[in-house]
């Protein structure tokens, strides 16, 4: 069961009362050949697992930073197959749980069952689909779960408690709590929505909760540390890769940022 690595992580963080750091990075950055090294560097710096982005041409839930990462990865020839090769190598070299993130269209184009099988072969623990709400989830969730992987479902600050209950009842491997209104991207302050949403989800379900969107600084991560089982940081790390003058600089910048973020969660 590939989701085992993820379930083991949540059991561990709960028993030790800490919050996991799950960085997001688009596959194929800074380049196809060094992508895996970047994840290994993050694992060595305190990351507990990863969300690996398979690039998509029209990422509706992503802000300018991750849009640019998608364009760069696609221009660099990152296909679904190459993205999943990165996933397989990251699982093998780090032993950490990896969640594959993409949009619905590439999955349906390949076929949800085939996509699920390839994720399983790569050793992924779960799948996140940014434009797949509960009502449309079964077409992907069923084949994903049939292969032993976990499906991640979203909860948003705008979701009613009744919706939160329905989302929990679909039994995702974890709930991705959208910490702020808006698409992915760095924010200055801390979201006023994050704590309120986390608290509402906690009253509805005991499922693992991971918060993401708009969490970019150690302070922001620290402020949510007690509220969730895990934190996802994406754009802040992706930006460091995009801005770096060369691949070594990208590795160094991301390593430093992950050390700080992991420190903030301890």
């Amino acid at each position: 069961m590939s989701r085992f690595r993820l379930e083991r992580l949540f059991a561990e963080v709960r028993s030790s009362g800490r919050t996991a750091l799950l960085p997001f990075m688009t596959a194929g950055l800074p380049s196809v050949s060094t992508s895996v090294d970047l994840f290994v560097a993050m694992a060595d710096s305190g990351a507990d697992g990863f969300e690996v982005g398979i690039p998509y041409s029209d990422p509706m839930m992503d802000g300018p930073t991750i849009q640019a990462a998608n364009r760069r990865a696609l221009a660099g020839g990152v296909t679904v197959e190459k993205g999943l090769e990165v996933v397989a190598a990251v699982v093998e070299r780090t032993g950490k749980p990896v969640i594959v993130m993409t949009y619905a269209n590439p999955i349906f184009r390949i076929g949800a069952a085939i996509f699920a099988e390839r994720c399983r072969e790569a050793g992924a623990s779960g799948v996140i689909v940014a434009d797949l709400p509960l009502e449309e989830a079964a077409a992907i969730q069923d084949p994903i779960e049939a292969t032993g992987l976990g499906m991640v479902l979203f909860a948003a600050p705008t979701s009613s408690n009744a919706r939160l209950e329905a989302i929990a009842a679909a039994n995702p491997v974890f709930i991705y709590g959208i910490a702020d209104l808006g698409v992915t991207g760095e924010r200055r302050g801390s979201s006023s929505h994050a704590r309120e949403l986390a608290a509402r989800i906690r009253t509805v379900t005991g499922l693992p909760l991971v918060m993401g969107v708009g969490i970019s600084t150690p302070d922001q991560a620290r402020s949510l540390a007690g509220e969730a089982d895990g934190i996802i940081v994406g754009s802040a790390l992706v930006r460091r890769v995009l801005e770096a003058p060369d691949e070594q600089a990208a590795l160094d910048a991301v390593r430093n940022a992950v050390v700080e973020l992991a420190g903030a969660l301890r």
Binding site: S57, M60, N105, R109, P133, L134, P157, T158, G182
Partner: protein, 389 residues
């Protein structure tokens, strides 16, 4: 058979649905409820009809294109949406949606625009009802439709250039969606075509079907043999098709063939695309084997879109309508012919519908064809003048 409304999941057969981030789902539910309540109530419908009559200038005329008919040997009737306020059918939908936004207590509306006609229509409706308006427009389109950019500014709307992707309609829709994910509590997204997640395709069709209903009445029972309209997202086409579907006339949607279907540079989502998901709905789209959405091409900004409304996908699949295409060159020739025979300069989009009739004139000889002349061409004159220099 046509569907009066999509099913509970927003599906027209296997098309449509709601592939949107969770943040938007409650707003889509709220919108569906507000629309359903308003659209079945006399107060909203009465006001909508009054505004369409007294402000938009409906009903628009049905014009017998005598000299064009004579030239082609085909009897051609033009539904003159170009004479609606702001110069295109887009205003029908903009008025309806801005009224809904007002009733839902949202002080701000956003819109995407390709040719600028929907942006102008939304800016106009926002000015009329006193709402704030932001319009997303691809930078390529801002360049080729500069006149409409100025019009939106005059109407008090803010136009935000979109630089991602190819800088055309697809990217403008994505950017408007992203704005909406952030501002959903205070903002309504006025989608300009029969695309997007449920309830948009259904709601926009309901606001546009007035075109076909009026035409039916104006025809006084004498049904045409064909009803023809251009198709980008497909709002003007669904607006005229829907009331005629099942009554007998052959419905023909004309997509943009751009530089030719075989060139790969076109906007023929039904003609040359495959089923997939774009902008929240399952429909035909231009995509590669990995599900990456391809850039469309058309000389007309309004047809420069790699997707199409899910109800058109359903119409195509179930044989209710047939979808053809016309190239950039054919559209330009059609624009010129209509200008010289009828004294009407059509929008480049609408010229695609005329272009199909010109190409098929021999097969259509002696038949009656109703065309949705969806917009006027003033906006295109500057682009054309630059091209001929």
């Amino acid at each position: 058979m046509k569907l009066e409304r999509p099913d509970d999941r927003g599906r027209f057969g296997e098309f449509g649905g709601r592939f949107a981030p969770e943040t938007l789902i409650p707003a889509l539910d709220e919108l569906a409820e507000a629309f359903e309540r308003s659209w079945s109530g006399d107060r909203f419908v009465g006001e909508y009809q009054r505004v369409l009559r007294d402000y938009v200038g409906r009903p628009t005329p049905l014009h017998e294109a005598g000299r064009l008919s004579e030239r082609l040997g085909v009897r051609i009737l033009l539904k003159r949406e170009d004479l609606a306020h702001t110069g295109a059918h887009k205003i029908n939908n903009a008025i309806g949606q801005v009224m809904l936004a007002r009733d839902m207590g949202k002080p701000r509306v956003i819109a995407e625009t390709g040719a600028g006609q929907h942006g102008v229509a939304t800016a106009t409706a926002a000015a009329y009802f006193g709402l704030k308006c932001d319009v997303y427009m691809g930078e390529v389109d801002i360049d080729r439709q500069a006149l409409n950019v100025h019009r939106m500014g005059m109407l008090g709307a803010r136009v935000s250039p979109v630089t991602s992707g190819a800088g055309t309609l697809k990217d403008a829709v994505s950017e408007a969606m992203r704005d909406w994910v952030r501002t959903v509590e205070t903002t309504h997204y006025v989608i300009g075509s029969v695309v997007g997640p449920h309830p948009f395709p259904w709601m926009v069709r309901e606001f546009q079907k007035v075109i076909g209903e009026e035409a039916l009445e104006q025809l006084e029972g004498r049904l045409p043999d064909y009803v023809v309209a251009c198709v980008g997202g497909g709002s003007n086409a669904i607006g005229i098709f829907y009331p005629f579907a099942g009554l007998g006339p052959q419905l023909i949607g004309v997509e943009a063939a751009g530089l030719g279907i075989e060139s790969g540079q076109h906007g023929a989502s039904i003609g040359a695309g495959t089923p997939g998901i774009l902008h929240g709905t399952r429909t035909y789209l231009l995509q590669d084997d990995e599900g990456q959405v391809l850039e469309a091409h058309s000389i007309s900004a309004g047809l420069d879109y790699p997707g199409v409304g899910p109800e058109h996908a359903f119409f195509a699949e179930s044989g209710i309508a047939r979808y053809e295409s016309a190239t950039d060159t054919e559209a330009l020739a059609a624009m010129e012919l209509l200008a010289r025979t009828e004294g009407i300069i059509p929008a480049l989009e609408s010229a695609h519908a005329i272009a199909w009739i010109i190409r098929e004139a021999e097969a259509l000889a002696g038949r009656t064809v109703l065309v949705n002349l969806s917009g006027r061409g003033d906006k295109d004159v500057e682009q054309l003048a630059r091209m001929t220099q």
